[in-house]
């Protein structure tokens, strides 16, 4: 018989049905769970595919670009984009071609105007011979994925720029700088953020206060003016390589703060978790606790934040180069290409100069999708 005022061994408080014990979830490793949740985000998966493709382009840029960046034709400046057409009636099977250019001179301004002539046909093919290059600086080759069948023909699928260079080739080659600067910059910020955030979150106390104040201070300064003023200090006579590293440094020195905050927040909450206490009581050393127990359980969050930081860096480089303060011609990046689009008059004659901006937009959008999906699935045990 039950008597008054006793407390039986109580089962845990009732949970919502959706939070209930999930046997399948309990058996899977955390990474599989992250992957399972991530896969449900259709946009994130699509974004991941786009990002992967973009980096494939980065790796094989010389091969994928129809011409090298230095190939130009001063007689064909600001030539409009050509549409690839397929002729089915050709006797040897399919024949791809573009319409060639007819050049006229504007009777008033004496500017050259290039228009597409439907009667002219420039044949195209896969793996044509073209500008020779050294793949990754070591393998010499002269084949390109796609281009004019005869090396002397000029083909501008996305139009040409002020110097008569092929915009498509420039965008492909420019992806190298634009996309790598984000990765390298994030890698540097990651190290800084992990170091300072980790120290701040794990030790707390005075180091924490100091680092937090520094972060707050850095975050209070408007980024672009600061970038501008720091880049003003970069000597004008530095070569493209030096500038590249200077810009990366500027971006990452200011970019680590957000990441440090994430790391610190995770450290602070993990420090109080039971499994960390348990590990400490088991006599685990501090280093072991951090790397064996804490870092693995926060890595998904950190990766999500990293993914969100890359597009910010890409936008930063683009903005700086666009203003002429980042990389400079002859180096090629999407921001440098967009610099040519600064003038409205130029844009009126050659609106295709905005296409590098589309490349920036698509990549950044895809990366944001991936980051968003990762963030949602970063904590597989949370609904």
């Amino acid at each position: 018989m039950l008597t008054r005022n006793h407390k039986p061994a109580a089962p845990p408080a009732e949970a919502d049905p959706e939070l209930e014990f999930d046997a399948a979830a309990a058996r899977s490793s955390p990474w599989r769970l992250v992957w399972r949740k991530f896969r449900k985000h259709k946009l994130a998966v699509a974004g991941a595919v786009v990002v992967l493709l973009a980096y494939v382009v980065v790796v094989f840029a010389e091969f994928l670009a129809p011409t090298s960046t230095s190939t130009s034709d001063s007689t064909l400046t600001y030539a409009p984009p050509q549409m690839v057409k397929v002729d089915l009636s050709w006797s040897d099977g399919l024949q791809m071609y573009v319409n060639g250019y007819r050049t006229e001179r504007d009777p008033e301004t004496f500017e050259q105007i290039h228009t597409l002539d439907p009667d002219l046909r420039v044949p195209l093919r896969f793996l044509p011979r073209g500008d020779s290059y050294e793949m990754w600086g070591i393998i010499p080759w002269d084949r390109h994925l796609f281009g004019a069948a005869h090396a002397k023909d000029k083909v501008f699928l996305l139009g040409s720029d002020r110097q008569g260079r092929d915009l498509l080739s420039l965008i492909i080659q420019g992806s190298r700088v634009s996309l790598s600067i984000g990765l390298i910059g994030v890698a540097v910020s990651f190290l800084l953020g992990l170091l300072f955030g980790g120290v701040s979150g794990y030790y707390g106390g005075a180091p924490d206060t100091l680092i937090q104040r520094v972060i707050e201070f850095l975050m209070a300064i408007p980024t672009l003016p600061l970038w501008l003023s720091l880049s003003a200090a970069v000597p004008a006579d530095w070569g493209p390589m030096m500038r590249y590293f200077a810009i990366t440094t500027i971006l990452s020195v200011l970019g680590w703060t957000g990441l440090a905050r994430v790391v610190r927040g995770r450290f602070l909450s993990l420090r109080e978790e039971d499994f960390v206490t348990a590990a400490r009581l088991d006599g685990c050393g501090r280093i072991r606790i951090i790397f064996r127990h804490m870092v693995p359980s926060m890595s998904s969050h950190v990766i999500a934040s990293l993914t969100m930081a890359v597009p910010a860096m890409i936008l930063g480089e683009t903005a700086m180069s666009f203003l002429g303060l980042g990389l400079q011609s002859p180096a090629v990046s999407w921001g440098v290409l967009l610099q040519e689009a600064q003038n409205v008059r130029t844009l009126e004659t050659a609106p295709w100069l905005l296409i590098p901006g589309v490349a920036v937009f698509v990549t950044v959008l895809a990366m944001n999708f991936v980051g968003d999906g990762l963030r949602d699935s970063a904590d597989p045990y949370k609904q």
Binding site: T3, A9, A10, E14
Partner: protein, 355 residues
């Protein structure tokens, strides 16, 4: 004695006036990985002034059932069938099909609710006086000053010291026990005929628990309101309730007077549940026996009697095939859903159908 319509009458003695009748209630959660039947055909009734305890293990659907009464189940949960009749001035309102205005009219005024975690059940951005006053002003035409005065008076009634000062404080300035008193005051503000208390003491420490339960019992006797007490704590149920309903996997397996059910449980699940609880003062030194096995995974509801995989009295070929119907009038008020007690009828049917 109040007159009762025939349809409101279910038990013979004593004459009851039900203020809440739940019939065939189904509530389910449609999740990405499947459908969870949280409440699966519950029949329950509460009479005026009665205290009904609903007990069961975690995840048996008792909380969802309680929330369904006020139509408070959030997405992806959905009431998919049954009726919930709440007595109103002009008859009864079916909470399952009623218009939103009617539902709002019932919430707070006829049926009030107290939740498990008082701290998170109150907005930290508003004073407690504001929130109690709001509860009053939603259902009665009073000025803000009157509402505030009523709030102070209510806080005094639930035993909060210096109510005229406390009324202007924020929830985070009070302890859990104090806040649960505030929640009770808020629930009482419009004089409801039924108070649903969903695990009101689970988040509190033991001494506070006892105080809150005493307060609830006292207020219940004072106001004559009915109470539906959701708890996993059989001791609390025994101490507080007139009647008890035992739930397992979304169905009521046994229901009856507290003394009947706890002294002579009939459903094997009730028996097992009672065995898993330590008996204080009985002098027995027998080992506690937890209920065998584990609660099945929510997506895979067992066939037949939901309890059969864990049941000591399992009859192969019957319990895993036939869903038991509630049996009433078995010599005492209440019902039990178990094939053990259907043996007689069941045998006859069996003989008829077997060639």
């Amino acid at each position: 004695m109040p007159t009762t319509e025939a349809s409101w009458e279910r038990q013979q003695t004593p004459p009851r006036q039900n203020i809440l009748e739940i019939e065939g209630l189904h509530t389910q959660f449609e999740l990405d990985d499947g459908v969870v039947q949280a409440v699966s055909g519950v029949d329950l009734a509460i009479a005026r002034g009665e205290v009904l305890a609903v007990v069961g293990e975690s995840g048996c659907g008792k909380s969802v059932m309680a929330r369904s009464v006020l139509r408070l189940v959030d997405r992806p949960g959905r009431i998919t069938g049954g009726q919930i009749r709440v007595r109103t001035d002009d008859g009864a309102a079916d909470m399952v099909s009623a218009a939103p205005e009617t539902v709002r009219e019932v919430r707070g005024k006829r049926v009030a609710m107290v939740f498990q975690e008082p701290m998170s059940s109150m907005s930290p951005m508003h004073t407690i006086g504001n929130q109690i006053g709001e509860a009053i002003r939603l259902h009665e035409r009073v000025t803000k000053a009157e509402a505030r005065a009523r709030a102070v008076e209510l806080l005094g009634r639930v035993g909060i010291p210096a109510p005229e000062r406390r009324v202007d404080e924020y929830p985070f300035q009070m302890s859990g026990g104090m806040l649960q008193r505030v929640m009770i005051a808020m629930a009482l503000s419009c004089g409801p005929q039924l108070l649903i208390a969903d695990e009101p003491t689970t988040a509190l420490d033991v001494t506070t628990q006892a105080q809150i339960l005493d307060l609830l019992r006292g207020l219940q006797e004072e106001t004559g309101m009915a109470v539906m007490l959701i708890t996993h704590d059989l001791g609390v149920a025994a101490q507080m309730a007139d009647r008890v309903a035992v739930m397992y996997l979304g169905t009521v397996v046994e229901e009856g007077r507290v003394e009947d059910v706890f002294r002579a449980p009939r459903h094997p699940y009730t028996t097992a549940l009672l065995r898993s609880v330590p008996k204080l003062g009985s002098g027995s030194r027998e080992r506690l026996r937890p209920v065998r096995g584990m609660v099945p995974h929510s997506y895979r509801r067992p066939s037949g009697c939901p309890f059969h995989p864990r049941c000591d009295e399992f009859m192969a070929g019957r319990c895993d095939v036939t869903v038991p119907e509630p049996l009433r009038d078995q010599g005492r008020p209440g019902a039990v859903s178990c094939l053990l007690y259907e043996e007689h009828e069941e045998h006859e049917e069996h003989e008829e159908t077997t060639p």
